[in-house]
């Protein structure tokens, strides 16, 4: 092959590739107007179950079968999903089919033997089928429609086995717009529109949700599948402690007796069943190996309960726990994050979050009890976190998810100010602004969330935890006299996240797709389409709302 042939070949490849890319992009994009005119899928939902369906030309058009269903299901909710666009899908392989739909926005139109059926976004949301097919845990990727669930739904609609269906059916994706007759428009907490009253209501609703999930003994409903209202397996002491802290905060702010009672039950369960011996000190845990995180967040919760006078006697439990934390601290300020109760030895390994949590816990304990050893230990931990703890080639350009450091910095500022920590936190949030979604960056309602691509609907909790840290940073920066002009972008960043959290809270949420909407009112889902509700989702997002209300420049 001559050089000339090679050059021509490469040139031709570039041209063909460009044309092919343009054609593919154009074929699979969904410009509105290309859709079938007058297709509205009317569905009747009762307690999260589909009880009636009709395809009509216009919302409000009568349909005999649907009207009959309405009579037999008087409590059902009528939902219209109007098809506004239609486009092709790639049916093979399964991964391509799975990625052919924008989560929460796109459904399927299937044609088989001249008959057409629809699987709408609501059908898929009710079965939590988005973000399931492709999983790459190493990079946190969960994307694509659950293909087996999609085929099962279609098989059910047509009454044809999946095998036959998959060989002869023609699939298209449809983009729909949902409307519910008589329902007020969805809360449009756009940036700059929400008020402190909205934020307060949302924070208290989140607290009430958590409180409803605390049983008589003090155990949380740790993880809930919202559509079915089933409690899923799993439990975790650090998150129990964090959720207890949030309940104590809400109880103090709202004066809600039920929330206060739930906070005390949850704290009581921890004090009576989880405080155990770790050498001469006390720690939190029930396993042979316990971690610093659970004890740290328990201290934060107990201090809050004592500080707000929910039950001042919790102050008595704190010194033995902080003694454990101090015993776990290394000379360089970091902590040994685990402890083997059987051999009575610390285990010098490090896990994400725990050093920051310990720093905050020790700072809070000092503020309540005045033990100078606690503030000294907290200051050393903070100095480690923003110094050697985040020092590597490229550490100026990359930051993780750790969100306790800046809260510890804020908490310590009056007693042990650390300008290096403020600098670190300001840089971290500047990095965050680079990966925060602006309006139109993704097909989702994601302005204010954090992420790096459109395939995965952004998780909501990181926006909450980063906002907690950002609000702490903002507060300290103002105290330190940082120029307001420099802080404007930070405040705008937080405002975008708070607005986004308000929009996505189940307040009231997609009631028609939930088996028991009242049970999950106030909850914060994992994402726009992942409706698993874990207690720490509310803790972090609610924590951000409470910090927003308490910020130094708070609106009236």
């Amino acid at each position: 092959m001559s050089v000339r042939v090679l050059a021509w070949g490469l040139g031709a490849w570039v041209l063909v590739c460009a044309v092919a890319c343009w054609t593919v992009h154009r074929t699979f994009s969904l410009p509105e107007g290309r859709a079938l005119p007058g297709v509205v899928i009317a569905s009747l939902w009762e307690k999260g179950e589909l009880v009636g369906r009709a395809v009509i030309a216009r919302a409000g058009d009568p349909d005999g079968a649907l009207d009959a269903s309405l009579v037999s299901h008087a409590a059902a909710t009528l939902v219209y999903e109007s098809v506004v666009a239609e486009g092709p899908v790639v049916m093979h392989p399964d991964a391509a089919l799975a990625l052919s739909f924008v989560a929460g926005r796109d459904g399927v139109m299937a044609t088989f033997d001249g008959r057409t059926e629809y699987v709408t976004p609501d059908d898929l949301l009710a079965r939590q089928a988005y973000g399931k097919e492709i999983q790459w845990p190493a990079v946190g990727l969960r994307a694509g429609v659950d293909v087996p669930v999609l085929w099962a739904l279609l098989s059910d609609r047509f009454g044809v086995p999946v095998y036959d269906l998959s060989r002869r059916v023609r699939l298209c994706r449809i983009r729909v717009v949902r409307s519910i007759p008589g329902d007020p428009p969805a809360p449009g907490a756009a940036v700059g529109v929400f008020t402190n009253r909205d934020v307060r209501e949302a924070a208290f609703a989140a607290g009430r949700f958590l409180a409803r999930g605390v049983n008589a003994e003090g155990h949380f409903r740790y993880l809930i599948d919202a559509p079915t209202n089933r409690t899923l397996a799993g439990y975790d002491w650090p998150r129990h402690a964090g959720a207890t802290y949030y309940l104590a905060q809400v109880a103090a702010l709202s004066g809600d007796a039920e929330v206060g009672s739930a906070a005390l039950r949850a704290a009581g369960w921890m004090r009576d069943h989880a405080v155990t011996h770790c050498g001469a000190a006390r720690c939190i845990g029930s396993e042979r190996v316990v971690d610093v995180g659970a004890t740290s967040l328990a201290v934060v919760a107990f201090v809050e309960i004592a500080r707000t006078k929910l039950d001042p006697t919790y102050a008595l439990v704190v010194p033995a726990l902080t003694a454990f934390l101090r015993d776990q601290q290394r000379p360089d300020g970091d902590f040994m994050h685990e402890y083997d109760r059987e051999s009575q030895r610390p285990i010098d390994i490090q896990l994400i979050y725990y050093t920051g949590e310990a720093a905050l816990a020790l700072s809070r304990a000092h503020a309540l009890l005045g033990d100078a050893r606690d503030v000294e230990a907290a200051s050393r931990a903070l100095a480690y976190l923003v110094g050697p703890g985040w020092s590597f080639f490229g550490s100026r350009y990359y930051f993780g998810e750790e969100h306790w450091t800046c809260q510890a910095m804020d908490d310590l500022w009056e007693r042990s100010p650390n300008p290096a920590a403020l600098d670190f936190c300001l840089r971290w949030h500047a990095f965050g602004r680079r990966v925060q979604y602006a309006a139109g960056d993704t097909p989702y309602d994601a302005e204010g969330a954090y992420g790096v691509g459109p395939l995965v609907p952004p998780q909501l909790t990181p926006a909450g935890s980063r906002s907690e840290a950002a609000l702490a940073t903002l507060d300290v920066a103002r105290k330190a006299g940082v120029d307001e002009g420099e802080l404007g972008p930070l405040e705008a960043q937080i405002r975008r996240s708070i607005a986004m959290l308000l929009r996505h809270q189940f307040h009231p949420g997609p009631r028609h797709l939930l088996a028991d909407p009242a049970a999950v009112e106030g909850a914060m889902p994992a994402s726009e389409v992942d409706w698993q509700l874990r207690i720490d989702f509310v803790q972090h997002t609610g924590g951000a709302l409470i910090r927003w209300l308490g910020r130094s420049s708070a609106d009236p």
Binding site: C21, S29, V102, D441
Partner: protein, 138 residues
Amino acid sequence: MNRWGRARVSLVFGFADLVTAALVVLGVFVGLPARWAPVDVPASVLVALKLASGLSLIARARWAPRMATVGAALALALGLALVTGLALTASWLSGVYGPVGRGGALLLTLVAALALPYLVVLPVVQLVWLREAAPRAA
């Protein structure tokens, strides 16, 4: 180019082939989360050819030019297929999802940019050099 110059270039291409083999192992067999024959088999063949080509070029073996030509041609074919596939996938995703966001665009560009030097530019340069060097060596 004199004999000494050709020897040095041969050494450079030999090491470049070994680096390419290592990067393919890293990208495919360490980086990708699952095993899939349509990717794994060509990648394995490419790694084997690049290793053989690299070692033979470094050792100045008699069969080195032939091995290097086959290796470079396969790398170029796979590289063009990979970049085409990535470009088409990006076009498809942007068609389905609309805006891919700054992060998404950056990620795809970086992946393409990482593949281009080793699997397109290097094989092209290598093929040109082998072509230029062949008559003199004969």
